[in-house]
């Protein structure tokens, strides 16, 4: 039985060999005019001042590119209605990100660190992305490489027409800068994981998908810096990074101190919630120091300092 099977296989194998030989003997002379394939190598257009700014300010020093011209296929959900950015918005937005994210990290940790870990590709949408249940997508990140920022046309900083400090400063802080610091936090912990003790601080209180039904104020009473923090360990960790950097030390202290008296519905006292946030803060600071040789409080000062100049 075994013998027969072997023989069959060997004959088949032999036949297959001949077949392969026959096929490979047909040599293709050339593969055609490949250099004429339309769009091969990416879209091209006559470069303008914005393209030059991106090249000089982001691509040459940091190997980062930014796509502001419309390309539907960069956006995950092609059924959504979006519009491209207004050209007048592109440099103000990108330079804000550069000032409040790139430069603080470069100054604190050096170009080698920054160029090694920063996402390399920004895609801009002019409008927000509206979701069926009423929420709005602020930004998305893919694989530590590509970051999509929405709402470019709504972005306003000091010096731009119609700037309203009361609304616009928190919009820029909570949307664009929070998003980029949040996503960069993910890249860092996916490269070197934070100490496991972090997960024990508020272990029993994570909400999972139910976070959406919580306000930031509710979440803080349980020791989470934002409602989104309570989704899982990783989001908690990067929300801490994003909030501490964009709020500054004073802003973060204010958040901790504003937790009201009493016990939360889940049985956490004010003192416990504050202690949890302080422990998380300490682990973030230690993680930056031990893993990346970055003085977190100095980085925080630089980020917040640059933001104060923008608003």
């Amino acid at each position: 039985m075994t013998m027969i099977l072997l023989r069959t296989i060997s004959k088949l194998f032999f036949a297959a060999l001949i077949l392969t030989a026959t096929l490979t003997s047909c040599k293709e002379e050339e593969i055609g005019e490949v250099d004429d394939i339309s769009g091969l190598g990416g879209d091209t257009w006559v470069p303008g001042p914005i393209d030059k700014w991106i090249m000089d300010s982001l691509t040459i020093p940091y190997n980062i590119s930014a796509k502001y011209k419309w390309d539907q296929f960069e956006f995950g959900n092609i059924t959504k209605t979006l519009v491209p950015p207004d050209e007048a918005q592109v440099v103000p937005l990108l330079s804000t990100i550069k000032k409040a994210w790139t430069l603080p990290y470069v100054q604190e940790a050096g170009e080698v660190f920054y160029n090694k870990y920063s996402p390399k590709f920004f895609v801009l949408s002019g409008s927000n992305e509206y979701n069926a249940e009423g929420s709005v997508t602020l930004g998305t990140a893919e694989g530590g490489r590509k970051v999509i920022l929405y709402g470019t046309n709504l972005f306003k900083i000091k010096g731009m027409a119609g700037y309203n400090p009361a609304e616009d400063s928190s919009f820029v802080k909570d949307w664009f800068l929070h998003t980029i610091h949040h996503e960069f936090g993910h890249i860092l912990h996916q490269t070197v994981l934070y100490p496991v003790e972090y997960k024990n601080i508020t272990k029993s209180l994570y909400q999972g998908g139910n976070w959406i039904n919580w306000s930031d104020e509710d979440a803080r009473r349980d020791g989470f810096v934002t409602a989104y923090s309570s989704l899982n360990f990783d989001e908690d960790f990067v929300e801490m990074i994003a909030m501490m950097l964009t709020e500054g030390k004073a802003g973060f202290d204010k958040i901790v101190n504003s937790i009201p008296e009493g016990t939360s519905p889940r049985g956490v006292t004010k003192a416990q919630a504050q202690a949890s946030l302080r422990q998380k803060e300490a682990i973030v600071v230690a993680y930056y120091k031990n893993t990346w040789k970055i003085d977190f409080y100095s980085l925080q000062k630089r980020v917040r300092g640059s933001m104060n100049k923008l608003f």
Binding site: A15, Y68, W70, V83
Partner: protein, 436 residues
């Protein structure tokens, strides 16, 4: 069995031959032809010295006029009739031609064209997340590219964009502000009277304008019979342009031009079909739909339910003049006003409805009870006061609304669509309420 597998294998091998000729029906490869097509489309767009007049018909409805001037540096300068500012001031942005599933024209940074697509509802009055369902990426089909007219189809929503080669005078009409001046027509909304009339070449027309949907309705009489004509419109070098012209006997109206506007006297003037006219007001319809009021009253009786109004009465140019939207009952907020006919053999109900948030239900707290309305032979409906329900706060929005409803002059009912009516005061036509 074993052998047959072998034979099949050899047979397969035998089918292969070493001949590799790539004869195709075309002389050039698909890529070469695609690149040539993209280049020729771009050349055609760029080599129009006065640019292109354009009209876009968004999938969401309406029609909007544009002017594009393309250059060979991927730049386009445009005007749009969407608003006064965009009709008066050019904006530069970028475009490119790209091979997608078809050769495509993409307006790839924000321009006046994107205003229609913008998902932010306060930009264009469309739905949040959708805008006016317009487009800014267009497929180019070779058979719809003519020397002077290019018809494109939006890739996302299938909006139609028609480009027509502009002449020098048409381009000048944009740069010298005469297209912008045509937008004076939009002041027609400042007339306080519901019914507006124009007279062109001896024919009197009632003109009804829906600026959000860009629709004009003209009504005229032949003898005692009313005729209506409805068209979409846009603004361009020829002024306000009808998407389809009105042919009325020997008279053909393609649009309106030569606009004048006097804000002090609230008087709009323009020309159409070679004649000048000013917009005048009337307190009753030109052709009264005699059965409309009874039809309006009967509809909820037959189908159940009631008529609802989100904003209450519009009076003397003020939307929600009595501020019914500010009404509250305890902590329950105003939802809408209702008119429910034949609640009782003796009376109907005209009342504000409140929304109880915790219980997610609607609540009727107080209101007015008109008696059975009188349907007058001239088409009006008159609401007699029969009584009230609950305790109506006086004075207040509900009391003011009822006082207007019980006006002895009554109302005309104007059917504006299958399921919507405007109820217009017969006293002066300066007050009305929209039922839906």
């Amino acid at each position: 069995m074993k052998n047959s597998i072998l034979y099949v294998l050899f047979l397969t091998a035998a089918f292969f031959s070493c001949e590799n000729s790539d004869d195709t029906v075309f002389e050039e490869t698909a890529d070469v032809r695609l690149n040539a097509a993209l280049a020729s489309y771009e050349k055609q767009l760029v080599e129009a010295p006065s640019g292109w007049n354009a009209v876009i018909y968004p999938a969401g409805g309406g029609s909007y006029g544009f002017h594009f001037k393309f250059n060979n540096q991927n730049r386009v300068v445009m005007y749009s009739d969407f608003a006064d500012a965009s009709a008066a001031t050019a904006k530069e942005s970028s475009y490119r031609l790209k091979a997608l599933q078809t050769p495509s024209l993409i307006f790839d940074t924000y321009s006046y064209l994107h205003v229609l697509s913008d998902p932010e509802s306060d930009v264009n009055g469309g739905d949040l997340g959708e805008g006016l369902k317009s487009d800014f990426e267009f497929s180019i089909f070779p058979d719809s590219v003519k020397t002077d007219v290019i018809t494109l189809v939006g890739r996302k929503n299938k909006s139609r964009l028609v480009l027509t080669r502009a002449n020098e005078a048409q381009a000048t009409a944009y740069t010298n502000g005469s297209v912008a001046k045509s937008l004076l027509f939009n002041n027609i909304a400042k007339y306080q009277t519901y019914f507006k009339r124009i007279t062109l070449g001896g024919v009197t027309y009632e003109i009804t304008v829906n600026q959000q949907d860009r629709v004009i309705k003209l009504t005229w009489l032949s003898g005692t019979t009313g005729n209506t004509f409805t068209t979409e419109y846009y603004f361009g070098p020829a002024g306000l342009t009808f998407v389809k012209p009105l042919v009325n006997g020997s008279q053909t109206i393609t649009g309106f031009t030569n606009f004048t506007w006097n804000a002090n006297t609230v008087q709009l003037g323009f020309s159409g079909a070679g004649a000048n006219t000013v917009v005048t007001t009337a307190i009753k319809p030109l052709a009264v739909d005699l059965a409309a009021s009874r039809r309006w009253w009967q509809k909820p009786v037959d189908s159940g339910g009631e008529w609802r109004s989100e904003f209450g009465f519009h009076v003397n140019g003020v939307d929600d003049a009595f501020k019914v939207k500010d009404l509250v009952s305890g902590k329950d907020e105003f939802a809408f006003y209702i008119y429910q006919p034949a609640v009782d053999p003796d009376y109907d109900v005209f009342a504000p409805v409140f929304y109880i948030e915790e219980e997610e239900k609607l609540d009727l707290v107080y209101g007015h009870a008109p008696g059975r309305p009188t349907f007058v032979a001239d088409g009006r409906v008159i609401f007699p006061e029969w009584g009230s329900l609950g305790t109506v706060p006086k004075p207040g929005p509900a009391a003011s609304s009822a006082a207007l409803l019980f006006d002895p002059s009554g109302f005309y009912l104007i059917q504006t669509s299958e399921d919507t009516y405007d109820m217009v005061s017969a006293k002066d036509a300066k007050a009305w309420i929209t039922w839906e």
